[in-house]
Amino acid sequence: MSYLEYNARYVPVGFRKLLYLNWPVIILLTAVSGAGFLMLYSVAGGSATPWMEPQIKRFGLGMALMLTIAMVPIWFWRNMAALAYIVSFLLLIAVEFFGSTGMGAQRWIDLGFMRLQPSELMKVGMVMLLAAYYDWLPLKKASHPFWVLIPLFIIVLPTLLVLSQPDLGTAILLVAGGGAVMFMAGVHWAYFATVIAAVIGTVVAVFESRGTAWQLLQDYQYRRIDTFLDPSNDPLGAGYHITQAKIALGSGGWTGRGFMQGTQSRLNFLPEKHTDFIFTTLAEEFGFIGAFALLSLYALIVLFCVISAINNKDRFASLLTLGVAMTFFLYFAVNMSMVMGLAPVVGVPLPLVSYGGSAMLVLLIAFGLVQSAHVHRPR
C-alpha cells in the first residue's frame, strides 16, 4: 500500500501534528519512566547518581527522538523497514566479532557515549520489516507455505545470532514478537499450533540432551532453569537471586515498606537491583498497590496501542503498532514473571524502568513509530 492510498488532505501537517499525537500513550510512558527514576533514586540509596541522572538524560533524548520520528510520515518509515532490519542484522554480526563481553555474553558495541545492544535494535527492525512484508503481501497469500517461510527466516536468522551471544531472553522476545506480528497479519492458526507443539518438543529435547555431547544450552542456562524450578535447593548459590527477589517482593505487603525503606534492596540482598530486578524494589517499597499500579500503567499503554491499531485502516501501521505493543508487553510480562518466580531468570529488563540505555532508547524510538502511525493514519 502506498502513500497514494492516503487522503492527504486529512493528514495533519506541520506543528498541527502535535495535536494529533497519541497523548495518552505519551503520558503513560512518562509516568512509567517517572516511576523508574524514583526507583533508581531509591536503589542508589537516595542519590541521583549513578543511575537516575543518566536515565533521565536518556529519557529526554528518547522523547526527542520519539517526537521527531512521530513527525515523519509513516510511509517513509515503511520504506525504511528493510534498511532498519539489515542495519540491525549487520550490527548483530558485528557484535559477534567486535562486541564487548559482559556477564558471560557478547551483547553490546561500545559507541563511546553509550553501549549499543544491536539485539534491542533488532526487536524494532524485525517488527518493521514483518509489518512491511505483510503490508506488501496480498492477504490471500499470507497462509501459503512459501510466503510463511520468508517471515520465518526474517525471525530465525537474528534469533540464532542472539542465541549465540548467548542471550536467551532477547531470543525469546524476538521469536514471540515476530510470531505475534505474523499471527496478527492473519497467518493460519495451524502454523501456530505446529510451532507451539514444536516448542514443547524442543523443551523436552533440551532437558533430554542435558549432560550429553550435543546439549542444546549452556550450563549456566541449565542452572538457571534448575533454579527456576526449585530456587530453594541452592539458596546461596544460583537460587540466591530469585529467592531474594521473592522475599523482597513478598515482604512489601499491601502498602510496602515505604519509599527508600526497603531493607532487601537497601542492604544489597537484591541482585541487579537497578536493572533486571528493579521491580522487586518497587514492590517491596510500595507494596501491592504500587506494583499493581505499575502493571496497570503498562496494561493501559498496551491497551491504547491496540485501540490505535484497530482504528488504523493502514495495514502496515496497525501491524507495526500491534508488533511494538506486543514486544513491549513481552518485556514487562517476562520480566515480572521472572522476578516473581513464574519464569526462569532470562535477563529481560523491565521496560523504561530498568537502568539501561539501549532498551530505553529503542523502546522510545519504537513508540515514535507508533505515534507516527497514529498521527498519519488514514482518515
Binding site: E5, I247, W254, T263, A299, A309, K313, L322
Partner: protein, 646 residues
C-alpha cells in the same frame, strides 16, 4: 498501486479480530501476574516479611563473663584478665603491608606473625577486624594508641581471658579452660549457642570443667542489621547476658600452696580435710604444671614435656591415683573384725614372722615376728600376721562392707576430673570383673590393704575422717556458688561401736606418739597438736622367694618405678580432731620415713594456719625443718602472679 477496497476491509477485519484475541491473551497473562502479586504480597506477605527480617537481622551473641573462682578466704584462684590485642581492619588500612611495616617498627612482632596476619586479613572480608597479635603489653598498646594517625586500620582492642593467679599450685583442682573443640562438641550434649562461637573458652579439666554450666553464665544477644555481605549497618537492640556464677571453693590457698611446696620434688599427693564439715582444705599433687600455659595455647615442646614425664604432672594423683593402701587399711580390717564379733580388743594373736594359709606363706614385714600382739600393739607396730588372721576370721564380705562404710571403693562426688572410685574387692566383684573365683589368699592380701584393694588419697582422707569422728563425713570442695552455701559434708553418726573406734584411735595415737610406734619419728611435741595416724607401705610388685632368699628387699636397691609406695594417714589434734590428712609418695619407700613427715608438716601448717614454730617439732629434727621452711618460703611457683603467703 492501490489495493482493492475489499482486500483492505478484509485485512482490517482480520487484524481487529486477531488483535482482540491477542489482547485477551495479554489480559489473561497480566491477570496471572496480578494474581501472583496478590498471592505473594498479600496472602504470604507475613512469611516473606519474616524472611526479609531474618536476612536483615543478625543475632550476635554477647559472651558472658565467666564466673570467678575463689578459695575459702576469698583469694582469687581463677580470674578474667584484661587482654590487649592489636586488631586490623583491611578497608581502613589501605596498603596493609605498609601499615604493618610501620607497626613492626613500634612493636616487636615476629615475621611469621605478620605473615599469618596478612594471610588472614586477605582471606576475610575487608571490614572484618582481624587479630594480628594477642596478649600485648600495656606499653605496646600505648605506643600503638599514640601513633594511631600513622596506623590507619589498626585498633588496640581489649578482651577478657582466663588467668590463674595461683599458677601451678591450683592446676589440678581448678583445672583450666581452652577453646571449644570439635571433639568437645561431639562429646557433650549442650545446645548452648555460645559453644558455636569460634574459640569460645570452656572448662577442660578440674572445677572449670565440672562446674562449666555454673561458671559459664548465659549469652546475651545483640541484634544487628547487616547487609548482604554481612557488614554491620547498625545495632538494633541488645540484651545483656547473665554472667557466670562465682564459685568459692573450700580450699585454703595458704595451706594448698604449702602442700604443693612440701610435695615438690616427689611424685606424691596429699589431701587435707576439715573434720567439721568435710571441707577439703588442700588437695595437692606433685609434680604440677602451669595451667596458664594451656589457656594461651601450649607449645608442642611444653606439652610433650608434661606428657612424657614419668612423674605424670598432668595427673591429679590426689583424686585420680589409686594405690594399694597397705597398712593404712588395717583399721578397716580391725574394725570389721570387731564389729563382726570375731575379735576382742585384748585378744592376742601370735606372730612368728609369717602365716601359712593353704600352703602359701604370707610374710610379716618383720621377718623375726612380733610375738603375741593385741589390737593396740598390732596397729602400733603394724604387725601383718595379726591381720592375716583377722582377715581369715572376718571374711572378705565383712571387710569390703566396712571399707565402703569408711568411704573406700566408691566415688566421692567432688567437681574434679576423673575422680577415681578405687576398689573394695569382694567375691561378686572378682567373679564379674575378673571372671575368677575368690581365693582365700585374696582375703589374706586384702586384710593388709594389698592385693586387689585400691584407694585414692582422697578416699584415705575420708576414711581417716570417719574413723576420727564416727560420722559418715563426705568431702566438699565447693563451699558456695554466688554466695549460696552448698550442703555441708558433716554427715550422720555411723552405726559403729564408739568403743571400738576409741580403741583404734588410741592405737593410732601410739603409732605416732609411742616410742615403739612406726611413726614415732614424725611426732608432734606440742600437746594440743598431737596427732594420731597410721603408716602404710604398699608393694607394687611381688617379692619372689628367691629375692627374699637373696635378701634383696631393700627399696633403695630397686629402680624407682618398682619401689614401694609410701602412705600416711592421720587426724589431729588427737583430743579435738580438726583435720584429717592423707599422704602418698609414689615409690617413696617406707610410709614412716617418706610419707609420715610430710603428713606431720602439713598437719602442723594446718593447725597453726601458717608456718608452725620449730618448738612443735622434736628437737632432733628442728635443724632440718628450719632449712626446709626457709626453702619453701623462697619457692617460686610456675605461673603464680600473687603471693598469698606474703
Amino acid at each position: 498501486m492501490r489495493r482493492p477496497p475489499k482486500d483492505t476491509l478484509e485485512s482490517n477485519r482480520i487484524v481487529t479480530r486477531r488483535a482482540l484475541v491477542m489482547g485477551a491473551a495479554q489480559l489473561g497473562l497480566m491477570g496471572a501476574l496480578g494474581l501472583r502479586m496478590q498471592s505473594m504480597q498479600i496472602e504470604h506477605a507475613d512469611e516473606f516479611r519474616l524472611l526479609a527480617e531474618e536476612n536483615r537481622i543478625n543475632v550476635r551473641l554477647l559472651p558472658p563473663d565467666r564466673g570467678l573462682i575463689f578459695d575459702i578466704n576469698g583469694v582469687p584462684l581463677a580470674v578474667n584478665e584484661q587482654n590487649y590485642r592489636i586488631v586490623m581492619v583491611r578497608e581502613d588500612a589501605g596498603d596493609i603491608e605498609e601499615v604493618l611495616g610501620r607497626l613492626t617498627k613500634l612493636v616487636d612482632l615476629p615475621d611469621e606473625v605478620v605473615a599469618r596476619a596478612i594471610e588472614e586479613i586477605n582471606r576475610r572480608s575487608p571490614f572484618v577486624p582481624v587479630t594480628i597479635v594477642d596478649r600485648v603489653s600495656w606499653e605496646d598498646i600505648a605506643k600503638v594508641t599514640v601513633n594511631a594517625p600513622a596506623l590507619p586500620g589498626i585498633i588496640a582492642d581489649v578482651g577478657l581471658s582466663r588467668h590463674y593467679p595461683q599458677g601451678a599450685d591450683t592446676a589440678h583442682v581448678v583445672g583450666y579452660v581452652g577453646p571449644v573443640s570439635d571433639y568437645d562438641l561431639s562429646r557433650i550434649d549442650d545446645q548452648d549457642p555460645l559453644l558455636q562461637i569460634p574459640k569460645f573458652q570452656i572448662g577442660k579439666t578440674g572445677v572449670e570443667n565440672k562446674l562449666e554450666q555454673t561458671l559459664r553464665g548465659s549469652a546475651g544477644t545483640r541484634r544487628i542489621e547487616v547487609n548482604a555481605l554481612g557488614r554491620v549497618m547498625r545495632e538494633l537492640d541488645r540484651i545483656e547476658g547473665q554472667s557466670g556464677a562465682d564459685v568459692q571453693l573450700t580450699l585454703d590457698m595458704k595451706l594448698q600452696s604449702y602442700v604443693e611446696a612440701r610435695l615438690e620434688g616427689e611424685s606424691a599427693a596429699a589431701v587435707v580435710m576439715d573434720l567439721e564439715n568435710g571441707d577439703l582444705r588442700a588437695i595437692g599433687s606433685a609434680p604440677t604444671f602451669d595451667p596458664n600455659l594451656f589457656v594461651r595455647g601450649i607449645s608442642v615442646a611444653d606439652w610433650r614435656g608434661l606428657n612424657e614425664d614419668i612423674y605424670r604432672p598432668l595427673s591429679a594423683k590426689s583424686v585420680q591415683g589409686t594405690y594399694p593402701p597397705g597398712s593404712t587399711f588395717k583399721m578397716i580390717t580391725a574394725l570389721a573384725a570387731l564389729e563382726a564379733g570375731v575379735l576382742t580388743p585384748e585378744e592376742t594373736i601370735y606372730c612368728r614372722g609369717f602365716t601359712e594359709v593353704s600352703g602359701t606363706r604370707f610374710h610379716c614385714w618383720r621377718s623375726s615376728g612380733h610375738g603375741n600382739v593385741n589390737l593396740h600393739e598390732s596397729l602400733k607396730q603394724s604387725c601383718d600376721c595379726y591381720y592375716y588372721e583377722l582377715g581369715l576370721r572376718t571374711g572378705i564380705e565383712n571387710i569390703a562392707a566396712m571399707a565402703r562404710k569408711m568411704g573406700l571403693g566408691l566415688r566421692h562426688d567432688i567437681p574434679m576430673s576423673a575422680v577415681a572410685s578405687g576398689l573394695a574387692p569382694d567375691r561378686v566383684w572378682k567373679r564379674e570383673v575378673r571372671g575368677e573365683e575368690w581365693r582365700i589368699g585374696d582375703t589374706v592380701n586384702a586384710s593388709i590393704g594389698q592385693g586387689y584393694v585400691l584407694a585414692s588419697p582422697l578416699q584415705l582422707a575420708v576414711m581417716t575422717a570417719r574413723l576420727a569422728t564416727g560420722r559418715s563425713i563426705t568431702p566438699r570442695l565447693v563451699h558456695s556458688i554466688n554466695g549460696i552455701e552448698q550442703p555441708s559434708g558433716a554427715g550422720e553418726s555411723m552405726d559403729v561401736n564408739e568403743n571400738f573406734l576409741r580403741r583404734i584411735r588410741q592405737s593410732m595415737f601410739d603409732v605416732n606418739n609411742h616410742s615403739r610406734g612406726t611413726a614415732y619419728g614424725s611426732r608432734i611435741v606440742v600437746d594440743e597438736a598431737r596427732m594420731a595416724g597410721k603408716t602404710g607401705t604398699s608393694q607394687v610388685r611381688r617379692i619372689t622367694p628367691e629375692e627374699r632368699a637373696r635378701g634383696v628387699t631393700s627399696n633403695s636397691d630397686l629402680p624407682w618405678e618398682r619401689r614401694d609406695h609410701a602412705l600416711w594417714v592421720n587426724f589431729a589434734p588427737f583430743d579435738n580432731p580438726r583435720y584429717a590428712v592423707a599422704v602418698i609418695v609414689e615409690h617413696g619407700g617406707g610410709g614412716s620415713t617418706a610419707a609420715a613427715p610430710i603428713g606431720r608438716d602439713i598437719t602442723l601448717q594446718a593447725l597453726y594456719d601458717g608456718e608452725p614454730p620449730l618448738s612443735a617439732y622434736p628437737s632432733n629434727v628442728r635443724g632440718r625443718i628450719a632449712e626446709q621452711q626457709e626453702r619453701i618460703r623462697n619457692r617460686v611457683v610456675a605461673g603464680q602472679t600473687t603471693n598469698t603467703r606474703a
